[in-house]
């Protein structure tokens, strides 16, 4: 009975967490979330969760294997048929324990997912068109780069993606984010580069011969450097248009 009560308690609390995650989170002045950090945190939590479950099962298994090993050739097992009450108990209690853990994990996963999908308002927007086997980026001022995306540090970046030929997946491991790009649909990812540096971007959806060679880099530049580069690119573009 006590066991059942505990299960009910944890079930109720995870249901509350579940419902809480449904409530709108926008409208508050909120810091921009760091999803890579959010990922690492939740990943760690889930690893702890599954390790505990795994170790419990493994310990019981090994204990049974040692304790109930056969001692004489004719020995048979002595487990008794189960009474209806304990059969129901051994079904219902585990079902609710698993369900409680599932709903708890689903709620935490959903919360982080909202952060992944809600693009901050001030995000710097870049268009990306993928093709076998290149990433083509177009910036708001019309500037273009290939296989290198340049972004300013300290500003969230959103990439609107599509593809000229087949499926590709724009994957930036350091920012823990990917999404497929495909012909006929527009998808998006956003990430929040905070420090200057370089990060690998690589293709994660099989796209033929040179799939493994379809990679480039995300260059996060100090804000003033980026602004200078970006302005320069824009001016060059204007001159080129004027010359034509």
């Amino acid at each position: 009975m006590h066991k059942l009560g505990m299960t009910g308690l944890s079930l109720t609390s995870s249901l509350f967490g579940f419902i809480a995650s449904l409530l709108p989170t926008s409208g508050f002045a909120k810091d921009i979330p760091d999803n890579a950090q959010g990922f690492d945190h939740l990943w760690y939590e889930v690893m702890v969760d599954i390790t505990i479950i795994g170790v419990i099962f493994a310990v019981i298994l090994v204990y049974f294997m040692i304790k109930y090993r056969r001692r004489s050739p004719d020995q048979e097992g002595s487990q008794k048929p189960m009474s209806a009450v304990s059969a129901v108990g051994w079904s219902v209690i585990p079902v609710f324990m698993f369900l409680a853990d599932d709903l708890y994990l689903a709620a935490s996963g959903w919360e982080l997912y909202n952060d992944y999908r809600n693009v901050p308002e001030n995000a710097f927007e870049v268009q990306m068109e993928a093709a076998m086997w290149t990433w083509d980026y177009t910036y708001p001022n019309g500037a273009k780069t290939y296989n290198e995306l340049r972004v300013p540090a300290g500003t969230p970046v959103v990439i609107r993606m599509t593809s000229r030929d087949t499926l590709h997946s724009h994957y930036i491991p350091d920012f823990r984010i990917k999404e497929d790009s495909m012909p006929g649909r527009v998808t998006y990812i956003w990430f929040y580069p905070q420090e200057p540096g370089e990060h690998v971007v690589t293709c994660a959806e099989y796209c033929g011969l040179l799939h493994s060679k379809m990679y480039g880099k995300i260059t996060v530049m100090p804000e003033d450097e980026f602004t200078a580069w970006y302005k320069n690119e824009g001016e060059n573009l204007e001159q080129a248009v004027a010359l034509n």
Partner: protein
């Protein structure tokens, strides 16, 4: 000699058909395993090692995946084990439609021949076992070969489904009720329900890509009003349930092995059957979106199927508790089949639990399509499935040959394979989540940190290869040097062990077996033999 050959080709005996499935699927396993060895050697260091053409690698990978799933696991479980065991476990003289059964195995062999043409045609298919468009439509590779291999093997599955559902429903010996069936029989029943419902969807999907490629339709061409994502939805609407088509029979045979070698009744049988098997059959068709978490599907369905996917842990958990509980107060004998059976529980534990982060959509955004996923599904499906098939072969070996294999050779083969798979697939998961290296890569110069892991995995592949050779030796050695096994060497209470070894060619028993009041396949520790 000709007579023997004719006898085997035109046989309608479920036991011979089962063995034909076994031979064909083990051959597919060996060949697909060679592809894995080629891939592991290629990846053992950065840069080209044995081929500088990524196209070669893509064909190996295509063949490895397609042959392992469609040519080895599904036929070995629902072809070999189901054919051989089910009529014997339910006290039937054969399956309901023996000639349809023969047609299934012919279609299976034709599928294998078609798959082998990969190595003969000028532009071999390179579409992976998933065959996603637009690539499968754009590629110069021969996608039709992929389509027709899938269709032939799919027809074989549908026929098998009709046959076995009818057999189990109507041909049980008088006195065997639904609650007295072996867990393996129940699991296969569930698996064939899934096959009947979902295989036609796969058939439709692969037919559509061939129509697009060769007949000028535009199902998946957005420029003409098509949509690329329809295929992935159709494909995974079948192919996730296909995971359970593999999972159910393999966990079923593990149940039978564990009960036999612990000489114990199944712990909470009804929860395992109605909660575990039933729950999986009910949930199987509502979770496919977790294969499409990063494809830009709408948020509501991603979150919705995250919840249904996590709920798969409930029926699987019930099966687990039942399996572990079956050891409680048992009498455990660590013969080779039992080593395989117990190792599957450990492999499933690792593979099943690492499925939990993958079910969570926000975590999948990082690890989807990386080596983490390859590690996970090899543990949970590929290796656990293969180990239960090998365990099943050793378990039934005395029944279908009448001889006993050599225990020492068999155990060496087991331990080599067990060490080998863990040397490959555990590092695979680590490299996936720490470096983020994606799957289906011929080279990985952008991930230099992954190199040492790949070297270790290469060694693991070599250990498995040696292990498999030892296993093959033990099977062949037993055929020639094995001592007579007797009818019931394991002391099992299950019906298949009441026949002679090997069982009578026609009808299995002299007369329909009589079932005593209160009989059950797991009634150990009582007098009701």
């Amino acid at each position: 000699m000709m007579n023997v050959l004719k006898d085997w080709i035109f046989t309608t005996d479920h036991k011979k058909i089962g063995l034909l499935y076994l031979i064909g699927s083990i051959a597919a396993f060996a060949l697909a395993g060679c592809m894995a060895l080629l891939m592991r050697t290629e990846l053992s260091a950065i840069g080209p090692t044995i081929t500088d053409n990524p196209g070669d690698y893509n064909v190996w990978l295509y063949f490895h995946g397609a042959a392992m799933i469609l040519g080895f696991q599904i036929p070995a479980l629902t072809g070999f084990l189901a054919n051989y065991l089910i009529p014997l476990q339910i006290g039937a003289r054969d399956v309901a439609f023996p000639r349809v059964n023969a047609l299934s195995v012919w279609l299976f062999y034709m599928g294998i021949v078609l798959a082998l043409m990969t190595f003969v045609v000028p532009n071999p298919p390179d579409v992976m076992w998933t065959g996603y468009p637009p690539y499968s439509v754009l590629t110069p590779g021969n996608t039709a070969l992929y389509t027709f291999t899938v269709l032939l093997l799919g027809f074989a599955s549908i026929l098998g489904g009709v046959n076995f559902l009818t057999t189990i429903t109507f041909m049980r010996a008088p006195g065997i009720g639904w609650n007295q069936l072996n867990v393996f029989t129940w699991c296969t029943y569930g698996a064939f329900i899934l096959q009947l419902i979902f295989v036609p969807v796969l058939g439709t999907a692969v037919t559509m890509i061939t129509l697009d490629k060769y007949m000028g339709t535009h199902f998946f061409d957005p420029a003409a009003g098509g949509d690329v994502l329809i295929y992935q939805n159709l494909f995974w609407f079948y192919s996730h349930p296909a995971v359970y088509v593999i999972f159910l029979p393999f966990i079923g045979i593990v149940f039978d092995i564990v009960a036999t070698f612990a000489r114990n009744r199944i712990f909470n049988y009804k929860a395992a059957i109605y909660g575990g098997v039933g729950g999986i059959v009910l949930l199987a068709g509502e979770v496919w979106i977790h294969h499409l978490y990063v494809t830009g599907m709408p948020d509501w369905i991603r979150v919705g199927q995250m919840i249904t996917t996590l709920m798969i842990s409930i029926p699987v958990g019930l099966l687990f508790i039942s399996l572990v509980g079956t050891l409680f107060k048992g009498s455990i004998d660590f013969r080779t089949p039992m080593l395989y059976g117990l190792s599957v529980i450990f492999l499933m534990l690792i593979g099943g639990l690492t499925g939990i982060p993958l079910a969570i959509v926000s975590l999948d955004l990082h690890v989807s399509d990386t080596y983490f996923i390859i590690g996970h599904f090899h543990y949970v499906m590929a290796v656990a499935g293969t180990f239960s098939i090998f365990g099943g072969v050793y378990y039934l070996y005395p029944k279908f040959t009448g001889k006993m294999y050599n225990e020492a050779i068999a155990k060496i083969g087991f331990w080599l394979s067990f060490i080998g798979v863990n040397t490959i697939f555990f590092p695979m998961m680590i490299v996936g989540v720490t470096t983020g290296m994606p799957r289906r890569y011929w080279d990985y110069s952008q991930f230099p940190d992954a190199a040492p892991y790949h070297t270790i995995m290469g060694i693991g592949a070599g250990i498995i290869a040696i292990g498999f050779i030892v296993i093959l030796i033990s099977w062949i050695h037993g055929l020639f040097k094995g001592t007579p096994a007797g009818d019931n060497p394991w002391g099992s209470r299950s019906l298949e062990w009441t026949t002679t070894s090997p069982p009578l060619a026609h009808g299995n028993w002299e007369a329909v077996p009589t079932i005593a009041e209160g009989w059950g396949p797991y009634e150990y520790g009582t007098d009701k033999a």
